[in-house]
């Protein structure tokens, strides 16, 4: 006998009558799937954000050369750039352009700050490989030899707490997915038990006519699978619509950090796997519940 959940004849389907999607089960699954998709998307987005943060800022030093005398500042900047470019393990050295600095200053201090002839420090971004990053203190000391006005900021110093936060939120999102999956499983157990009680008379008659446990379980599996298919699809679509709305709003913010938390194709595939896995889980749980109940009968 084929044991596929949908390979049930029309006559067999009539054995468990109730109107489709009439009970609460598909709607409960839809709500759970909606929340699971959001939590899953949150977790994946946070992972992407953390990765983006790590790759763009993780092993980067920012050098500031602060001196009121513009000539001294410029001379030390050139010496620093020259020294950094000669260091082994330095992947990239980039002086932040005057235009970029002006933009930053304008954003922080307002448009009048530039006109006030404020001494603007020279900023240099330095990307290191892991080996060079490990000896960043040595590099900083060498740098100060050639540019005494240099201040070296390790991005990881301020990035660490943020990375920890993103990591914690990522695990929280994963925990939510697991909890909601467990809750969905529990809801399926209750639904299967309820359906068993509702159809106990039919099941007993089938049982006494020689139905195997698997024949009976298949009927319930199919029914739960259809509920899960409807609920999963509905919850997934609702989740995608909400995520699309959030995505467009994040895009409007223009934030690099939030922007890096966007989902890529693989993430969408993973999210799509949630309703598929949900259907499989629902069928498996329904089957186990029904088989366990049937085994109590002779």
């Amino acid at each position: 006998m084929v044991n596929l959940p949908f390979a049930v004849s029309a006559a067999d389907r009539r054995l468990l009558p109730e109107g489709r999607f009439a009970g609460p089960m598909p709607w409960v699954i839809a709500i759970m799937m909606f929340l699971t998709v959001l939590a899953g998307a949150g977790g994946l987005g946070l992972r992407r954000g953390a990765q983006g943060l790590q790759s763009s800022l993780g092993e980067r030093l920012t050098v500031q050369i602060v001196d009121a005398n513009g000539d001294v500042r410029e001379a030390q900047a050139r010496a620093a750039l020259d020294m950094l470019r000669r260091q082994e393990g330095v992947l990239a050295v980039k002086r932040v352009s005057e235009a970029e600095m002006n933009a930053i200053m304008t954003r922080v201090l307002g448009a009048g700050a530039i006109e006030a002839d404020l001494p603007v420090p020279v900023m240099i971004d330095v990307d290191l490989n892991p080996a060079a990053y490990a000896r960043r203190d040595v590099i900083a000391a060498t740098l100060r030899d050639v540019a005494p006005a240099a201040r070296v900021d390790d991005n990881a110093t301020w990035l660490g707490p943020l990375a920890n936060l993103l990591g914690s939120l990522k695990w929280l999102a994963l925990a939510l997915v697991v909890l909601m999956t467990a809750a969905t499983g529990a809801a399926v157990v209750l639904a299967a038990r309820g359906a068993l009680d509702t159809h106990r008379g039919t099941i007993e008659v089938m049982h006494l006519m020689g139905s195997t446990d698997y024949q009976v379980a298949r009927l319930f599996q199919r029914r739960i699978a259809l509920d899960a298919l409807f609920g999963g699809a509905l919850g997934f679509i609702a989740g995608v619509v909400v995520l699309a709305g959030i995505g467009s709003r994040v895009g409007a913010l223009g934030s690099d950090l939030l922007g890096s938390a966007g989902l890529v194709a693989v993430d969408w595939l993973l999210l799509l796997a949630l309703p598929v896995a949900g259907i499989g889980l629902a069928m498996l749980v329904a089957r186990m519940t029904v088989l366990r109940a049937l085994r109590k009968m002779l």
């Binding site: 006998m1 004849s9 006559a11 067999d12 009539r14 054995l15 009558p17 008379g201 039919t202 007993e204 008659v205 089938m206 049982h207 006494l208 006519m209 020689g210 139905s211 195997t212 024949q215 085994r295 002779l298």
Partner: protein
């Protein structure tokens, strides 16, 4: 079917059936009688494999049922037709689908069961009620559907609990004729009944009488049935 010192107890109560021993010949016709509460339904439950005994030995079709794994029981149940006292029709299925149920359980394709089900419904006089749900059938009609369902699969053994309790005498005679015909084709028939008239209708039938959970078998004929000539049935 062989029962040997079988006892049945529900929970921790007293035994409902005690020291039941008998052998049913393949192709035999048996009436099971006794007062209400004597244990007839309990004995029938053992016969149609709805209960395991608390003690004793039961052999069916040559195999020990007491120690048989439950996974093998469906195969045996398909060889037993049951007419329940309360009919146990599936209320949301039509008369046709109720009668077809044992065939579907046995894996018969829809195209192959149409004709036998129609014929069986015709036999019990319900051709024009094939699409009716049980709730719209009279008690007698429901009983006939239940009987048609029990015999549609040509079982090796038919167990019927008061099968004529809700039908008029003419239909009772007709149903008994159906049982008789099945019996002549080799089906072992066990009918639990209070109807004294039924007992006289089948001359070759043997009587089993239960009283307070004990089987009366004063001559030992049930325990050691005499071998007798075939009555034309293929046993």
């Amino acid at each position: 079917m062989q029962f040997d010192n079988v006892g049945l107890r529900y929970g921790t109560g007293a035994e409902t059936l005690s020291d039941i021993s008998f052998t049913l010949r393949r192709g035999g016709f048996y009436f099971l009688t006794g007062p209400s509460g004597a244990g007839k339904t309990s004995l029938l439950k053992l016969l149609y494999l709805n209960q395991r005994p608390s003690r004793g030995l039961i052999r069916l079709f040559g195999e020990d049922l007491v120690s048989m794994p439950r996974e093998r029981l469906p195969g045996f149940r398909r060889r037993i037709g049951v007419v329940f006292q309360d009919f146990r029709l599936v209320r949301h299925l039509s008369a046709f689908d109720n009668v077809a149920l044992p065939l579907r359980v046995a894996g018969v394709e829809d195209r192959d069961l149409e004709q036998p089900v129609r014929e069986m419904l015709a036999w019990v006089g319900l051709s024009d009620r094939a699409s009716a749900r049980p709730a719209t059938l009279s008690g007698g009609e429901q009983q006939r559907v239940a009987i048609a369902r029990a015999v549609i699969g040509r079982p090796d053994m038919l167990v019927a609990d008061e099968p004529t309790g809700n039908v008029d005498p003419e239909m009772a005679a007709r149903l008994l004729h159906l049982f008789d015909a099945l019996n002549r084709l080799g089906t072992t028939i066990i009918v639990a009944t209070h109807d004294i008239h039924l007992l006289t209708r089948i001359g070759r039938a043997e009587m089993m009488r239960l009283d307070r959970g004990h089987l009366a078998d004063p001559t030992g004929a049930l325990r050691h049935p005499p071998r007798r000539e075939s009555t034309g049935m293929s046993a």
